[in-house]
Subunit: 380 residues, 2 copies
């Protein structure tokens, strides 16, 4: 697994782990992989705390930070709107639809203090006003990589990163996105197939990866989407990737701060139990199929809003659901969902994050040996 | 590539090629792979002609036949209905919708003779009344494999096949389908990911193949969906498959009887230009996104019928479109679509079918060598 990406990042295994949880980031980095902290919903204060904690736990080993830098979102032409300005744009129809869901599923209200706490959370920091303060925090730490999980990194960010010796990665769901990333100077393209969790396109990893590899060569490509074990890592490498990027598989690890009811749903879910839905972020993102995603797909419903209006619309409802979801048999339990890819079907046991890395590497090595034996037989 | 499937079928490369075109079937078999003739729309007379032709061209090398054996279809409880009985079930709303599409896109009518020819065609032989005569023809030829591309093969068919030394394969889009196939005695499971052309489920190949391999072991599994080059074959083998099954990649070969306008669309299409649509067969099948698929997705439209009503509803319209589609700038040209998987994005040059097999094998061998070198470096 001595690939260009492993060299570039100074790591043993080019296995990049996306997680919102600092414990996972540190565990993967310490196991020889590379942890990437998803920070889009962090406040700058919380990000400072988390990165300091990571610095204290990885002993100088490399890690990265991930943000969303979409080109298209409500208010983009004004460089982003503040939360109150955005709230003015929420249509009454969608607000009534959310209220109706909450009422029909009997999801308890928050008290004033809880509601206040929800409104203080970072939300989705997708405009420069939102993410610039996060970048300032990130660049004050010894990050080795900055990634855009949505949209092309702005030129200023690429310059700033390169001046600081920081590698820039960007996710791409189509060949066209990958070429655009390459053109603006992105160092590593993450080709993510539709089977991946979170924001994802329509083309599957098996097709997308070789297509992107061929299009952007010699820029290195990581495969993402559908990768959670060593055979899948080997498949990605066979397709021409220089490593892999995965996010779902960490959600059921012991370190993950996944809500218990969601963790249980993940462990029980089949690979066919996910859906691409705009119901949480406003852009298509893969998550568990639940009553929540079903409600938003109703033909008689108003349909979701765009980004960042939809997250603003549903943030309090999501908080209400998550607070109440641990009550067995509750409507909130039925509604509760979260991002995850189709590999959820193979996530059946909770393990340490470091163990997940080692299991991947071991199974990968088995496949390499199997191919080596085939090569030996063929030449014999 | 000496796998269990290669041994079972007596072939050099476990590369199975699904095609409606006898020339492709023979070419792949002659190149060391294994051709499978898709016969669902054949009349028994036409199948007899095609299989005789194949026998004359493969010099005793093995090939197979593929049918659709769905459990659920209109009239299934009566063992299938004849065409006139089915016609009585076509709702006026959908008939008017089809007429409206034809009118708005100015697709010329057929003359009486052409219309008569369309109604004589085999259509979709998905009930026992339809496929039993085809099986009788197939078993009169030295077929080595019978495959069900949709639904579990009936017990009587499995018995008949095994008594005749014929291997039974069945496509599965979920682990559950694969387990059902295994339980009833299917010899080879074809795990087909959502990226595949034609009837396909929602789970991607990268996730589905290892899941099915683990579930049905030691029954051998072929990977299908998203496979059109040697890196993808190697990825499939890394995932644990014993070979691959592919259909799309033959549609642009020199031997394929693909309509010229469709062939041009395939050669120009990007990987994101396909969609799963029920608009032709009544069950979700991946095909080129065109005005036809768009029309059927209109929220104000009646939506497609089930199988086999939808094919009956649209067969004449499809014939009208296909007859007129070669006229540049015509509505028929805009509407024309056909089944294909996401690998259409990499189908950019028309080649001989045998050459496609050899290119796959060569690129596969390159990947095997790359892994062998990695194994040698690691152990050094």
């Amino acid at each position: 697994m001595k690939t260009a990406v492993a060299d570039m990042l100074g790591i043993e295994y080019p296995i990049l782990a996306f997680s919102h949880c600092r414990d996972v980031v540190a565990a993967v980095t310490n196991a020889g992989g590379f942890g990437v902290l998803g920070a889009v919903a962090h406040t700058p204060e919380q990000l400072e705390i988390d990165l300091t904690w990571i610095d204290e736990h990885v002993g100088g080993k490399p890690y990265g930070v991930d943000l969303l830098l979409p080109q298209k979102y409500e208010g983009a032409d004004q460089g982003g709107l503040d939360r109150d300005a955005l709230r003015q744009l929420l249509p009454a129809e969608q607000q009534a639809f959310v209220d109706d869901i909450m009422a029909r599923y009997q999801v308890p209200q928050l008290d004033d203090e809880q509601r206040e706490a929800v409104s203080r959370l970072g939300g989705m920091n997708v405009s420069p006003k939102g993410y610039e303060p996060l970048l300032d925090v990130a660049f004050d730490h010894p990050i080795k990589l900055i990634a855009s999980a949505l949209g092309p990194p702005p030129a200023a960010l690429i310059e700033r990163a390169h001046a600081a010796g920081v590698v820039v990665a960007a996710l791409a769901g189509t060949k066209e996105h990958a070429l655009r990333h390459q053109e603006i100077g992105v160092d590593i393209i993450v080709a993510q197939g539709t089977e991946g969790g979170g924001h994802t396109g329509e083309v599957a990893t098996m097709v997308l990866v070789p297509e992107v590899v061929d299009a952007v060569a010699p820029t290195p490509v990581l495969a993402a989407g559908g990768i959670g074990n060593g055979r899948q890592v080997a498949a990605a490498m066979a397709l021409g990737a220089q490593g892999i990027w995965c996010g779902s598989v960490w959600l059921t690890t012991e370190e993950a701060e996944t809500q218990p009811v969601i963790k249980e749903k993940y462990l029980a879910a089949r690979s066919k139990d996910t859906v691409r839905s705009r119901s949480i972020t406003g852009k298509p993102a893969r998550m568990l199929k639940t009553k929540w995603t079903e409600e938003w797909e109703r033909p008689d419903g108003p349909g979701p809003l765009g980004m960042p209006l939809q997250p603003l619309l549903v943030s309090e409802a999501q908080a209400r659901i998550n607070r109440a979801a641990n009550t067995p048999g509750s409507g909130a339990q039925e509604l509760a969902t979260y991002f995850v890819g189709q590999v959820v079907g193979q996530m059946n046991v909770s393990k340490k994050a470091g163990q997940v890395v080692l299991d991947m590497v071991e199974e990968y090595a088995d496949v390499v040996l199997r191919f080596a034996e085939e090569a030996a037989e063929t030449s014999a």
